[in-house]
């Protein structure tokens, strides 16, 4: 299967079902050199795929059974639509998951994401007002946490979802520390 993602970095393209984990190297802060990109751990993809299968699987069953039993078996063919959506979503989720990556540079944090709608954000550490680590019930079950950065501008959209909790905490502490060193305010 061709993922079409332009950002296959750090994640070896091996068997489709078991994407390789993120490289566990701690990047050395580099000055101006090519940033060291880190990808997201596979847990996020597993979680999103499971949610997709659960919800669209239920929908497929419902569209197959309800018209199939009430009107006639032929009407159960409508279930093909959610099934196709499920398969398409299965592929898309991986493409999207592969496109997410972030890099800690000497003075700023880079976040790059999206395949079709590509977005890249740069936040200088000195502008960070608040670093937030959140983890909902489903995320906690899969051992995931997201890190969100807030600056004085509400439009700054810097969230890294689906991190390993230990990595999320390391990132939070490091960002807070760097932010204090370089604090610049408004």
């Amino acid at each position: 299967m061709e993922t079409g993602s332009p950002h296959d970095t750090g994640t070896a393209d091996d068997a489709q079902g078991t994407p390789s984990p993120a490289p566990a190297v701690v990047p050395a802060p580099d000055d101006g050199a090519e940033p060291v990109w880190r990808a997201l751990p596979p847990g996020l993809l597993t979680m999103r795929r499971l949610l997709l299968v659960v919800w669209l699987g239920l929908l497929t069953l419902a569209t197959a059974l309800v018209p199939g039993l009430l009107v006639g078996p032929a009407w159960g063919a409508f279930a093909v639509l959610p099934l196709a959506l499920l398969l398409w979503g299965w592929v898309m989720l991986e493409r999207n998951w592969r496109s997410w990556r972030y890099a800690e540079r000497a003075d700023d944090l880079l976040i790059s994401r999206g395949v079709l709608w590509h977005e890249e954000t740069v936040v200088p550490y000195g502008r960070m007002q608040l670093v937030e680590v959140t983890s909902g019930p489903v995320e906690r079950h899969f051992g995931l946490a997201s890190v969100q950065l807030h600056t004085a501008a509400a439009a700054t959209d810097a969230t890294i979802p689906g991190l390993d909790p230990a990595e999320a905490e390391r990132l939070r502490d490091r960002l807070t520390e760097l932010g204090e060193d370089r604090s610049a305010g408004l």
């Binding site: 003075d107 954000t121 200088p124 502008r127 501008a153 810097a158 408004l186």
Partner: protein, 444 residues
């Protein structure tokens, strides 16, 4: 104001003097119940008539006898329980009868101070004082203070925020202000007549109302449609004239001073280094006269107008004062989007342009009504690059620059390679640009 209460500080520092607002404050919302009754009567005249005939003298007297003292008591208590105090580093506002609320506003975080006087407040000789801080509430404005007291308090707050020693802060007085520019009423009137919005509304009214009349022959329908249209036309002409009348821009060591208003007077003070973005707007009909409107964004502040109308050269010199070290890039400095961009934004792609100088990120847009946004590099909070599939096919991308006033300036339709380089270069510039910025306490 009256009865200053003294609160002993635990640490043994000089006591904090707590003050109350001006005694007319309880009356500020006295018109509200009357307005509600009036609104109900206008909305439903038949029902109001029926209710009125049912009222007997006794119920009326009992109602008034209960309502008026209750309202008066509420007004009095809310005034009695509102205190404010200026300490070395903050302004404290303590309010609330049942739910107590204390706001501590840090003085070095002040983005702007506004003293406003609505028409009735001018008659009563009182004024509102509002500190613009990020996240400040409407409730944190001091309404009302005596007019002289408001000015003295503003001078003291600015002196403390500027970094004068606390002991001398209230003796520093108002910083001398030098007038930079005053917009003559004639120019303002002509500029508003040349604003398209008014004429569009009048034109719509002139076309739609006769059509409605021929269709329905109902006076009420025509009135119901006509009054909002004429109201909109009035708001964009007469309303703006009244608000922007006698617009005076001054410069003082405490920053910019903006005074304006015909009926409601407002005096705004923006300390140095607080302006996040500046926009020069040039409506189509103003172009022959070479006039522009200058807007600004200050974090936490609602006022966004710097100059309602001014000749371009003068506006550019004002911008150079407001953003020190910034010159407005000349039109030839702007680079246009590549030709491929015409498939993303037909015709209007020509209006977009970008110029980056040592001090400022300048983005231009619009063909008929031209706008030019300026962000000093030091004010950039984050930089984003966004590219959709259609844009990728034509090799262009948008670069968004976010500032602290929640104003985002976008350089649209840049060539993809240039946008990627711009993203990193801009992040670098915003990081280094901060080094020679003014400190928060501008006199320290």
């Amino acid at each position: 104001m009256s009865a200053p209460g003294v609160q002993e500080d635990v640490t043994g520092r000089p006591p904090v003097i707590e003050r109350r607002l001006h005694p007319v404050t309880p009356l500020r919302r006295a018109w509200a119940p009357v307005a509600v009754l009036m609104g109900w009567a206008v909305h439903d005249p038949d029902g109001a008539q029926r209710q009125l005939t049912r009222l007997t003298t006794t119920t009326l007297l009992v109602g008034l006898g209960v309502l008026i003292p209750a309202a008066a008591l509420y007004g009095f208590l809310s005034w009695w329980f509102t205190h404010f105090a200026v300490t070395d580093s903050e302004l404290r506002v303590r309010t609330g009868l049942l739910f107590r609320r204390t706001a501590h506003i840090r003085l070095e975080r002040i983005q702007a101070i506004d003293v406003t006087q609505p028409l009735l407040a001018r008659v009563a000789g009182v004024a509102k004082l509002r500190l613009d801080v990020i996240g400040a509430d409407k409730k944190d404005e001091l309404a009302f203070l005596g007019a002289g007291e408001a000015r003295a308090l503003r001078a003291e707050l600015l002196a403390r925020a500027a970094g004068f020693a606390p002991e001398t802060a209230h003796e520093v007085g108002e910083a001398p202000s030098r007038q930079m520019l005053r917009v003559p009423p004639g120019v303002l009137a002509v500029s508003l007549l040349l604003t398209a919005a008014t004429w569009v509304w009048l034109l719509v009214a002139a076309v739609a109302l006769p059509l409605l009349w021929t269709a329905t022959h109902s006076l009420w329908t025509v009135l119901a449609a006509g009054i909002p249209m004429l109201g909109a036309a009035g708001a964009s002409s007469v309303g703006r004239f009244v608000a922007e009348y006698d617009w005076t821009l001054g410069e003082s060591p405490d920053g910019l001073r903006i005074d304006h208003g015909l009926l409601d007077r407002a005096q705004e003070t923006v300390p140095p280094g607080r302006v996040q973005t500046v926009r020069l707007v040039e409506p189509l009909l103003w172009r022959r006269r070479g006039w522009v409107r200058v807007e600004l964004d200050v974090a936490g502040s609602s006022n966004s107008l710097l100059l309602p109308v001014a000749p371009r050269a003068m506006a550019e010199s004002v911008v150079a004062r407001v953003l020190p070290g910034v010159t407005v890039p000349p039109p030839e400095a702007f680079s246009r989007p590549p030709r491929g961009a015409r498939w993303c934004v037909p015709v209007w792609w020509r209006g977009h342009g970008l110029a980056v100088t040592d001090a400022v990120f300048a983005s231009r847009r619009g063909l008929l009504r031209r706008g030019l946004s300026l962000v000093p590099h030091a004010k950039v909070q984050s930089v984003r690059l966004a590219q959709g599939p259609w844009q990728r096919a034509h090799g262009v991308a948008d670069v968004h620059v976010d500032t602290g006033a929640n104003a985002t300036v976008t350089a649209r339709l840049r060539p993809a390679g240039e946008a990627a380089a711009l993203l990193h270069a801009q992040a670098e510039r915003s990081r280094t640009g901060r080094r020679d910025a003014l400190p928060d306490r501008w006199m320290a």
